[in-house]
Amino acid sequence: MLKSKTFVKKTRSGGVLKIVREHYLRDDIWCGSEVCVECGDGAPVLLRDPRIESDLCTYPHYLLPDTNVVLHQIDILEDPLIRNVIILQTVLQEVRHRSAPVYKRIKDAIHDKEKHFYTFTNEHHRETFIEREQGESANDRNDRAILKVVLLTNDQANKEKAEQSGLLAYRCEEYIKSLIGNPELVDRLALASDDQNDITGSKLLFPEHLPLSRIQAGIKSGTFLQGTFRASRDNYLEATVFIHGDGEDSTEVLLQGLQNLNRAVHQDLVAIELFPKERWVAPSSVVLQDDRPNDEDAEEEDAEKKSTVSDTSVLKPTGRVVGIIKRNWRPFCGMLNQSQIKEATRHLFTPADRRIPRIRIETRQASTLVGQRIIVAIDGWPRNSRYPNGHFVRNLGGAGDKDTETEVLLLEHDVPHQPFSQTVLSFLPKMPWGITEEDLKVRTDLRHLCVCSVDPPGCTDIDDALHCRDLENGNLEVGVHIADVSHFIRPGNALDQEAANRGTTVYLCGKRIDMVPELLSSNLCSLRSNVERLAFSCIWEMNHNAEILNTRFCKSIINSKASLTYAEAQMRIDDAGMNDDITTSLRGLNKLAKILKAQRIEKGALTLSSPEVRFHMDSETHDPIDLQTKELKETNSMVEEFMLLANISVAQKIYDEFSECALLRKHPSPPPSNYDILIKAAKSRDLDIHTDSAKALADSLNEATLEDFPYFNTLLRILATRCMMQAVYFCSGMDSDFHHYGLASPIYTHFTSPIRRYSDIIVHRLLAVAISADSTYPDLMDKHKQASLCNNLNYRHKMAQYAQRASVAFHTQLFFKNRGILNEEGFILFVRKNAIIILIPKFGLEGTVFFENKDKPRPRLNFDTEVITEQQSWHCFKLNIFN
């Protein structure tokens, strides 16, 4: 059954290598159809009676798309209507080679049982293997390989060839249009490249992109640089390219003007060319939005609004995009701007993300889509078009509607939010659940301890609890008890995989997207009062100076005596009349926490600030009715101190045990240039900020106060927060710098919130192995798998934060919607040439105010490039953030 055939390939890795590989041809690859009687396939994938109603083919048929169809029309193939498709291995490989996102989507479709997609391994089938001919390119060979079985194609020549060999072939458009009763599918057709020429005249707006071979040569010789394109949020004519250097020497290059941006879209991987020094410019401080009316064929008059700052010190390296190495397009959410011409089918689409340009789409249902949130995918950006071309993918619902908006921001931030699948739920423990004899045997029984939890009000996923008691020798015993989630989520099962993918629980206003199913998060794992729960405990023996004498970790059983809110706990501590066990325990904890905090600050830990608000929600409509900034009580910091201490202790323990594969968290120290805005801001009030070390920064921040302006210090801290780098998870075997800058700790990890963070679950597992309470499994010890897990967690974590912020912003808007005009005090954070960015502390709201807005009186303000920031402006301006 094996037929051996060797073939020769040439690849380039420095020089030309001749690679000889074997290629076995088989005759046991089945066709996958239920109809077929000759194949001995055990589990056919394709249905016996594939029904797709079509004018062209009135009989049952299977579809067989070629590579270009898969690449460009993936949206159609993903539609549940399209089923019974044969994907050839040749096609799959070419797709993999050309576009990773499409490859992933088609693979998902293949795995979906409902879709009946079958992959035919034609390269290895004896009858369908095609030998590469002398002098034939790989592409042509692939075409021929596909032809031999054949097809749904867009390529004219390919179609002719196919018809020559007497096979049935249709153009994709023809076929889709022939489907009865599914007009919305037509809109989803991506524009094929040869249709685009007739959109606008022949006026070319953009310089040509260089071919990949020249870009690669250029990068090698150093004339071009490679980097990630990041559009500016504030100015659509400006962007930076982040050049990936080796370690320290990563730089940013500024790009200005539509021509120089040259059709790059946010997050694309681009090649750029640096201008000579004379042409370097400073980043413009103009805020520009692409607000022009829906000009379908308007002439492009972009007079480039270059700033003419003469000061050479602020000049940045400037360049232009010469080519695009890899597009990073994804589907975008946004709104449709209907064309002014009634019957037009081409419309512009404005994405929700301001960094994405507007997209031109073709649709016949514009009137129904206006006012709706829709998803659009980009197909291409020809040289003669001002905007990229795209196609409609999905309608999410009415704009402004709360559910739709939440959906939009979840999609935009790539937060997985589908309900948990049945397979995932099947791994949950069976109810009623109770503590078994076995648990009692292996766990330390801590039910007699007076444990209590302190959390924000309304919290149902309680993952930490504390206790403190006096020991006979005069020392104190302090315990942090964390929900033992890893007891319920066993490595490798569907529940574990789902949680690993979600990475974190996302808290939106009035909504929580759980990482683990609710039964665990709000019931079995939640350390509620007066029920017996499994916990992972970290117990210290401390003296009264909060010095740790002894650390112990154990899996335990606890029975929390009370779940308090921060305010309740504070009341108990302050109320001298209360002297029960819980209160004394809390007082002991509070005393130690204060010492711990002082020690930490002594070491140079930073206290930063960011404006945070809470909404009071209407219980019926879930509309926000009031909002207030979060205030911090002593008890907040009490809980925080012990969590930090537990995290640090655990980090040390797992690193000692697993130096190669411990999951840790680090916070790199920011490069000095990050502090520029902070130093300038302080200068405006004649204060000095030292940024040499975390300690110096913390000290100078403490001293930077103004008598007549108490909020100033908080403002500085807000700015300092913006100077910081992101803290990230990493695997200890892949990195050497472990330092946590913000906490001034040499090592740190996350251990205390396993209900809402997956990283903590991994840390729990590592710690359980370290105290021999559990066994390892392969993936836990594999540092590459750990590292890729860390990447996912970091990404999810970042996205969750953005989604949280976006949700707050949206609810703030809802709140103001019915408020009319309010007068509030605001502070200027940044000054741009034609706008200021303003923070209103009471609402934690940040907004851009343009000077030349027609319906608003111009605030009297002189632009001064030096004193950027925080001239405290006592202008009471009217709020119309909705414009």
């Binding site: 094996l2 051996s4 060797t6 290598l17 001749k18 690679i19 000889v20 590989r21 074997e22 290629h23 076995y24 041809l25 088989r26 291995q89 993999r96 080679h97 990773a100 693979k107 293949i110 795995h111 992959t119 391994t121 390269e123 290895h124 390892t776 499994y777 392969p778 010890m781 594999d782």
Partner: protein
């Protein structure tokens, strides 16, 4: 770009084999008349030539002589043209010496050396073309050469590699699979007694995965032994026909 997809979702490997399938094995015995025993073996694109001299008196320094059994002397080398880039030193480098040592250990376990005290058996193996699994091709070729030389052995020594990709053990790796990351385990087995002559693994592997991997390698070795056996039988038949004439 991500690395190669070593195992497709449909369960096919890069060259079209399934996970447990071996490469095509072809072999010939008695290819050289001067030597006491010789064999040529192809395992896929890996081609090896093995030559056996002896048993004969110990050459060189007398001190190496063992009084109760024979000394086995192995030398491994790779032809300069065996890899994609031309090799500078065909033998004597660190890798080759290590491989020689491994071969020596393998055959000391299999050859009944106590039958030939104070003598020496030389085994020379050369890789003519390398496409993964050099060690196993050498062992298999040398086994055939020893059989050809008529040196008594406990059993055939069959060697095969196995790797681990996406939780599936793959048998008999080719070069692309060996260099594509992951673990490679080389196993030399005396199939009838299931005793292991040599097992070698350089990379890290979780304990839970070791058993399936060993299992896969053992099965592969047993499969190989059948092929080797048929080669020997066919060779004997040809030789006996020739002598009868």
């Amino acid at each position: 770009m991500a690395g190669l997809e070593l195992l497709s979702d449909q369960g096919y490997r890069l060259d079209g084999r399934r996970a447990a399938e071996l490469r095509k094995l072809q072999a010939r015995m008695g290819v050289f008349a001067q030597a006491d025993g010789s064999a040529y073996l192809e395992q896929g694109n890996t081609k090896a030539l093995a030559v056996v001299y002896g048993p004969h008196e110990v050459r060189g320094s007398r001190s190496r002589t063992l009084h109760d059994r024979a000394v086995i002397n192995c030398q491994y080398s790779m032809a300069t043209f065996s890899t994609a880039e031309r090799k500078r030193r065909p033998h004597g480098d660190r890798k080759s010496s290590e491989m020689s040592l491994h071969l020596k250990q393998t055959f000391e376990a299999a050859v009944l050396t106590q039958l030939y005290p104070r003598s020496q058996i030389d085994i020379y193996v050369k890789i003519l073309q390398s496409d993964g699994g050099n060690y196993s091709a050498c062992v298999n070729a040398a086994t055939l050469a020893l059989v050809d030389a008529g040196i008594p052995m406990r059993d055939y020594v069959c060697a095969c590699t196995a790797g681990f990709v996406e939780d599936t053990p793959l048998a008999d790796l080719c070069h692309a699979e060996e260099s594509g990351g992951g673990t490679t385990l080389a196993l030399a087995l005396l199939p009838r007694s299931e005793s292991i002559a040599l097992v070698q693994m350089d990379a890290r592997l979780h304990q839970d995965h070791l058993d399936p991997l060993m299992e896969a390698a053992m099965t592969a070795c047993k499969g190989l032994s059948k092929v080797l056996d048929s080669v020997v039988r066919q060779h004997l038949q040809e030789v006996s026909v020739q002598t009868r004439e």
